[in-house]
Symmetry: C2
Subunit: 293 residues, 2 copies
């Protein structure tokens, strides 16, 4: 089954051909310019590919409410020219009969890990990306969480660690998770690019402490069967054992599941299996889901 995948980012678009097993056969990427130009490049790539469904994991915020007149729109983005752009409509007009799976990039990545990756076969998982920003996608009882809007997991307020007096980076919430722990916050707090901080720098212990605090909240609200941490910051693999330890400390034995209370936690909070393919495989997963609906 030939599936099309689009990873729509604010900086670049990636388009690819793959299949329902998550294999990627061919890919191409180009910078995000105007909607018109960008969408024409999409058509150029897919026009002769005979795909049976298309998945689109998209930067946001986007409208996912099927009942809404503006379903399929990119909504309040500051990105020039893309505000209130009907991206699904533009594609549907060109390929009227093609099933299109549309969701946030991070929901796509979550679905990709469930279909093809670290959470394969599970009906419950959380995918978190920690990089320039922090976002999360969750699968609950086999479905992506949407609801009123879609989760914005990076914007929860966290309690500050006593020795941390950083004012926070988020223009909306100051010291929310993203404001305390995304890449730009690390850089501003320590006055150095995160990549330049040595592996044993105290920055990473603090980072793990905040990530674990957030994960505890997700465990207590979403009860995921697996937590997958991706994004640029998580390339710092030394974070994982610290996150495991702090998550156990914080939950303090209250959630009596060996996945959390024992050393099995190293298989509960994990690195993405799809690695840097998470985005495009996520879009493939959205295409696969659209085909099966």
């Amino acid at each position: 089954m030939r599936l099309g995948a689009i990873e729509a980012g604010g900086t670049k678009f990636v388009v690819a051909i793959g299949d329902e097993e998550g294999n990627v056969y061919e890919r191409c990427s180009f910078p995000t310019t105007t909607p018109k130009e960008t969408v024409e490049k999409i058509f150029e790539f897919f026009d002769d590919k005979e795909i049976v469904a298309l998945g689109l994991g998209c930067f946001g915020p986007i409208n996912l409410d099927l009942q809404s007149d503006t379903y399929g729109y990119i909504t309040t983005t500051p990105k020039l020219g893309w505000k209130d752009y009907n991206i699904v409509g533009a594609i549907k007009e060109h390929y009227p009969n093609l099933p299109i799976g549309f969701d946030t990039d991070v929901n796509g990545a979550a679905l990709g890990e469930v279909y093809f990756g670290a959470a394969k076969g599970l009906d419950s998982a959380l995918y978190l990306t920690i990089g320039t920003g922090i976002g999360g996608g969750a699968i609950v009882e086999g479905n992506l969480v949407h609801g009123l809007l879609h989760p914005e997991m990076g914007h929860m307020m966290l309690a500050m660690r006593e020795d941390d007096h950083y004012k926070g980076k988020c223009p909306y919430h100051g010291t929310c998770f993203e404001g305390l722990a995304a890449g730009p916050a690390i850089e501003e707090r320590w006055n150095r690019s995160a990549k330049e901080l040595p592996e044993n720098h105290p920055a990473w212990d603090l980072e793990a402490w905040y990530i674990a605090q957030a994960l505890a909240i997700y465990v207590l609200t979403l009860s995921p069967k697996k937590i997958i941490l991706g994004g640029g910051v998580m390339h710092q693999k030394q974070l994982f054992p610290m996150i495991h330890k702090y998550l156990q400390e914080r939950l303090n034995g209250y959630i009596q599941k060996e996945e959390i209370t024992t050393e099995k936690i190293s298989d509960y909070v994990v690195y993405p299996m799809l690695g840097d393919n998470a985005g495009i495989c996520g879009a493939l997963a959205l295409a696969k889901m659209a085909k099966s609906l």
Copy 2:
């Protein structure tokens, strides 16, 4: 369709006969004694009632994992005699062919509000009970959230308000949501029974502040279409406008949905429509779901 409902609490059991519209025809309650005695009272009540399904909303923690050998057990409760008791098994043995819907009391209450109450017809909602403890049940894309265990929403750590120096009441987490804002915490902090605190006491402003902080987290993780606040503390109706205001302040316009950003918020965070029938109607909802599976 005659449905049976059991609201199993640590102090008392309520049993009832109702229907798929949420009507309750007959009810009876008795104290929670030993499992054997209590279960026999259940059989006495239902034996001649010709019900077609039974719902059981149960105090916890309980095992809801259908793949597990101990599905249907009450697990680590400190309640004498009930630890590791197979309550579903005991009922199944007596009524081998009856579909039984089994879940936490608070998941039942959430389902009840979605089937019959304030969230009727919605595929997404959050029900929170704030009383002696704090617990939450959520419906996501039409399904109750279970996952690894089940949510334990009252045990998230919250950031303390600057003017609050209370040490917290939770033996596991100190200043988690339950440790800061459940009834016993209010009483210990202010040295008076919550019921005796006048309506304009500063306790309620602080209470609303903590509740709003927790609701913001649920909005950002679960994205519910409706939030229903029940339990003894929420009998203090003056809390609602304060919660609405603090929730808007905390999200700070980031979730651009008029349900939250406008005065419509008074219809977004609401009191349970089923009121004190929440528990038993929740059990009816579990019976209805069991019958339709």
